[in-house]
Each structure stands twice: as C-alpha cells, then as structure tokens.
Symmetry: C2
Subunit: 354 residues, 2 copies
C-alpha cells in the first residue's frame, strides 16, 4: 500500500510477534479463566478462543503487537523478556476492555471477521466483561506486590484515562461538521498512542527502569501509535475487507472524522470543497440512510478524499510519526539488539495490511 515504506525484516518481526503471543497468551488465558461464568466464556469468545457455540477455535487473536513490545520493553531495561509478561497481559486486557466498550458505543457489529460481543451476548455482557478485564489488568500487575508493579499500574491507569478521553473525543467528532487535523491527531494520540506507549514502558518499569527511561520509551511508543493509527485510518477506507475483517469503506459508513478525511477537508481546492459539501449533506442524513448507500456512493467519497490529497497526506504522516518514533530510541541506552528489534517492529507497523 505504501511503496516508499521501509523494507521490513519479515522473519525478525514474525519471530517477535510469535514470541509475544507464545509467552503472553497462556498467562492471559489463565487471567481470563479467573472470571466467573458466563463472563469467562464471553471473554473467551471476544478473544477468539471459542466460537458462538462455545467450541474451541484456532482463533485470530489479532496482531499481538503490544505483547511483543512489552517483552522488548523489559529487555530494553536489561531484564529478561519474561519480566515483561504481566505487563504484556495487563496491556492486552486494557486494550480488549476498550474494544468491548467501544464496539458497543460505536454500534460496530463486526470485529476480526466475527460478530462483536454486544451483538452476540447483548450490551450488558459487553459492559460487564469490559469492566472485568480492566479490573483484571490491575490485579495481574498488583499481585506482584512490588513498588515497580505499583509504578507500572499507575502508568497503565494514566494511559487508560487517555484511551477513554480519546474515545470521548472520537464520539463527539462524529457529530461535528468540522474537525481540525490537530484535533484528530490529539484524539488518535489518546486513543491509540497512549496505550502503545504504555506497552513500550511497562516491561522496562517492571524491570526496574527509572522514570526518564520509561518516558523516552513511551515517546517511541506514542509516535509508533500515531503511525499505527494513520495506517489504520488508511485501511479503514481503502483496506481489503478480506484482510481487515471489517466492512468495505468501514470508517466512511460510520462517518468517522479520520485523518484522511480531515486532511482532505483542510487541503482546500475543488475536490476538498466538493467533499465538504457532500459530507455536510451526509451529516444531515440518518444512520439508516447512510447504511443504504451503494458501494459506488462510498467509492466516490473515497475518490474525492484521495483527489484532495487526504490519502497521500496520511501516508506521509505515518512515515513522519515512524521517523519520530525511531529517532526517540537514540535518546536512551539499550542493548543494540533490542533497539534493532524495536526499529523492525516500527517498520512493520507502517506497512501492514491488516
């Protein structure tokens, strides 16, 4: 999707993601098993471990970028990767708490090619299981009983508050006609950057890193999160449903003020102005009317966004954030091998297609 992207070291990235999954998943499953029925089964369905009828599935647990980062984070502080495991699990729990609640608030019916929890098990289970995963995240960290576990939990809590701020902004922007590029970036920094930043500091904090080191690692993670989200915004309009597991034109169906849209509206020029007129008219329509749009109607909006430069600007923004993230790594001492792996993961994030 992005010809000028960095060449990625596929084998290295695959191994890193695989290590994160292998080390974190058993602990994540054991944590989820602490939930009382039926919440344990609802959570297992959400994570893709069982199907609607409760049968075990091969499962698509997502990309698992965050666990991979949390383990590297421990290594960045000179600790063993295993030291980052509770952090990896806690971050995954918070991430999935937010998915459960956001899917309900946003009315999203599909995630990872499957019906969302509120759609299958009802809104109450989506709320309850989300709440329970958030509590579990703190539990997993705090039962370590150390001062560093308290520091890690505090960082996770602050990241979670930003996540919530971002979702609140995201919701409010859907009802506004105009959102600036700056507002959109702030929202995405809260919604995606903060938790990814925490994934990159949490292992180091559990490994005894000082606050300065943790802050720099978070800087890398924050900008990586913005790069990640810029790519997500591209996939949300132009992604292949087969790869993303979402509907075609997913973000356009929800009238999301994502980066390509706000950048196109801010660009000026004939395509930008026509887009603005069309979206202003769309804003007056009901959700049902939007849902009834033909593929061609969505395609023509996507074409205008591209013509106004929104697609290209967002691709460049992903590269800018990637560069800022990678540059931050130079501000802190860490084993060269770990630095190279963090760079490889950053490269992967900007070229992924799902």
């Amino acid at each position: 999707m992005n010809p000028a992207s960095p060449a990625i070291d596929t084998a290295r990235v695959t191994a890193l993601l695989e290590r994160g999954r292998t080390l974190a998943t058993p602990v994540l499953r054991a944590a989820v098993n602490r939930l009382a029925p039926p919440m344990d089964a609802v959570a297992a369905y959400h994570f893709g471990w069982i199907d609607v009828d409760g049968r075990p599935t091969a499962g698509d647990g997502g990309k698992a970028v965050r666990p991979a980062l949390a383990l590297l984070s421990a290594e960045a502080a000179g600790a063993a990767p295993e030291v980052g495991i509770p952090g990896a699990v806690a971050v995954e729990l918070v991430h999935n708490f937010s998915l459960l609640h956001d899917d309900l608030m946003d009315g999203d019916e599909q995630r990872r090619h499957r019906d969302t929890v509120w759609k299958v098990h009802g809104p109450a289970q989506a709320i309850l299981v989300g709440d329970a995963l958030f509590a579990l995240a703190n539990e997993i960290l705090l039962e370590l009983g150390t001062v560093d576990a308290g520091r890690a939990t505090r960082r996770l809590t602050l990241a979670t508050r930003k996540l919530i701020d971002g979702q609140a902004q995201d919701i409010s922007y859907e009802h506004r006609e105009r959102v600036t590029v700056e507002e959109c970036l702030e929202m995405e920094g809260n919604k995606t950057g903060a938790l990814l930043a925490c994934a990159v500091s949490i292992g180091a904090v559990l490994g005894g890193a000082d606050d300065r080191t943790a802050d720099i690692l978070e800087k890398y993670g924050y900008h990586l999160g913005l790069a990640f989200q810029a790519v997500d915004d591209l996939l949300g309009i132009w992604g292949d449903p087969e790869s993303t597991g979402k509907q075609t034109w997913s973000d356009l169906r929800q009238r999301k003020k994502s980066l390509p849209v706000v950048a196109a509206l801010a660009a000026g020029g004939p395509a930008s102005e026509r887009l603005a007129d069309i979206l202003a008219a769309d804003a007056k329509k009901s959700e049902t009317e939007i849902a009834d749009f033909t593929e061609e109607e969505f395609a023509s909006r996507a074409a205008l966004i591209e013509e106004a430069g929104g697609r290209e600007w967002t691709s460049e923004e992903a590269r800018r954030q990637h560069a800022t993230a990678v540059a931050a790594l130079d501000e802190v001492d860490m084993p060269e091998q770990v630095r190279a792996q963090l760079v490889a993961l950053a490269d992967f994030v900007v070229v992924r297609e799902r």
Copy 2:
C-alpha cells in the same frame, strides 16, 4: 421500620457521616475535575453537584457511609483520619462507576430522585464516565507511590471484581424462575459486601496495617454490607418513595430476586405457593406488561411476600449480619473510641429508611 433494632446514637452517626463528607468531597471533586469535558460535567451531574442544565445544586450526594468508614478505618490502624481520604475517594469512585454501569444495564431511569445518566446523557456517556471513574480510583491511590498504596489498590481491585461478579449474578437471576437464599446472599455479598468491606480496610492499609488486621476489618465490613443490603431489599419493596428516591415497589417492578422474595419462596406454605404461581406467571410476561401493572397488583404481591414470612426473615437477617459484623470487631485491637464509632455506624445501617 424495625422495632427490635438497636437504639442509634444519632448525633454520633450524623457527625461521622458529616466528617466523611467534609473531608472526602473536596478531594473527590478535584479528582472528577481531572476528567476532560464533557465527562467532567456528566460525572458532576451523576454526583448531584449540578442539574441537567449545568447549574450548581445543593445536591444529595447519598448517605456517604463509605467515606465515613474509610476514615474510621485509618483510625482503627492508629493513623490520622486524613490518611484514609484517598481510600475514601477511591471507594466512592468505584461505587459510582458501578452505579453508572448498573443503571444502564438494569434500565433504571431514576436514582436519588433524578433521571439517571444514561437517560439524560445517553448510554455512551454512562459507559465512558463509569470507565473513567474506575480509572480515577486507581490513579488517586497509586499516585501516593507507596507499597501500602499498591496493597490498597489491589484490595480495591479485588473488591471491584466481586462487585462485577455480583452484578452478573443479579442480571442472570432476573431471568431464572428460582433462586436460593444462599445464591441471593452470595450475590449480595459480592455486590454490596465486598466494596463496603474494602471501605473498612482501605484506610487501615494506607495507615500501614498488616494483612490480618485488614482482613478482620473486611469481615466487619462484609457483614455490615450484607446487613445494609438486607435493609435495602426491604426498602426496595416497602420503602417510602419520598425517602428512597425510587419508584414504589421498585424491586418488584424489575422482578428482582431480592432477599424477601427468595425467602418467601423458600418458606413453603399456602402464601409461599400462591406467590410462586403468581411470579411464575409474571416471568412469562413482557417488561411492558409488568410496567403496566396497577399499584394494587404490586401491593398484592408485596402482601403475599410478607404473609409468607419474607419480610420478617429479611429483617432478622439484617440483625444477624449486624451482630456478626459487630462481633468481628472484637478480633482486632483498636482504640475503644474507634470501635464504638464503628458499632454506631453498624447500628445506623440497619435502622435507616433511605
């Protein structure tokens, strides 16, 4: 409502509740002010600090039993009451997080004589602000940065998980024809006992108490919570709407399997059997049909519950739990003055009418 209840020391209880309110409320307000708009205003509305139009109100912040307990908890460990303030605030934040989510899940339209948050601001704000209050609770405690703050947060997290378990049980029981007295007590122990228990240990833990002391204080708090809930269940059927701020026959309207109901069903005899038949028929009706019941239809169900002994059994259960709570206080050393105040609060809980 309860002629055989202990005589309460009204002046002492009033002073304790007032002290809890006076010391905790400014810190609680400052915490809520950290929320980004519009969540800060939604939370302020929920707490009763502003009205629907954003105007400051005199406000009915609830009974404030939990903050009073958290300050006494610090004193039980020999610390100053102020040491318990972050604990008092954190417990209030978790309590109100659960109210926001539970009101939405239960479809409750009124709380404390006012429309609930989801009714005024919509489901998304009820979810988001609930999430934010939960996160804030951890934030307030963990920014103390001590090992004891980590211990306190862990206890609060475990209590929150029980709270969630209790709400899950409560929801599932509404769809079941029969719930045993034991199941009901377990649910109420989770839903009310666990957080009240935490309120009674959290100040002590922040004041450096060991785990044994904290566990005994939690035992007092847990049984106090069960006494509290038994009284709530009586008020949920026979309470005066003017005092409770809820509709008449509130729990019957929701077909809650509360203690008086399950005790009446378990009692056997003609009234119990007639009640069982009527409730089994009610279970097949739609929510709208139940909502359309006349006052007399609810009153006749309440009369059957009383005739079958459910009201008397629940009153006695409140007294039994009160006695177990007060007895637990003898297992731990604490200043006599503090013990007397904890007893006075326990006495208050079982005779209150709101």
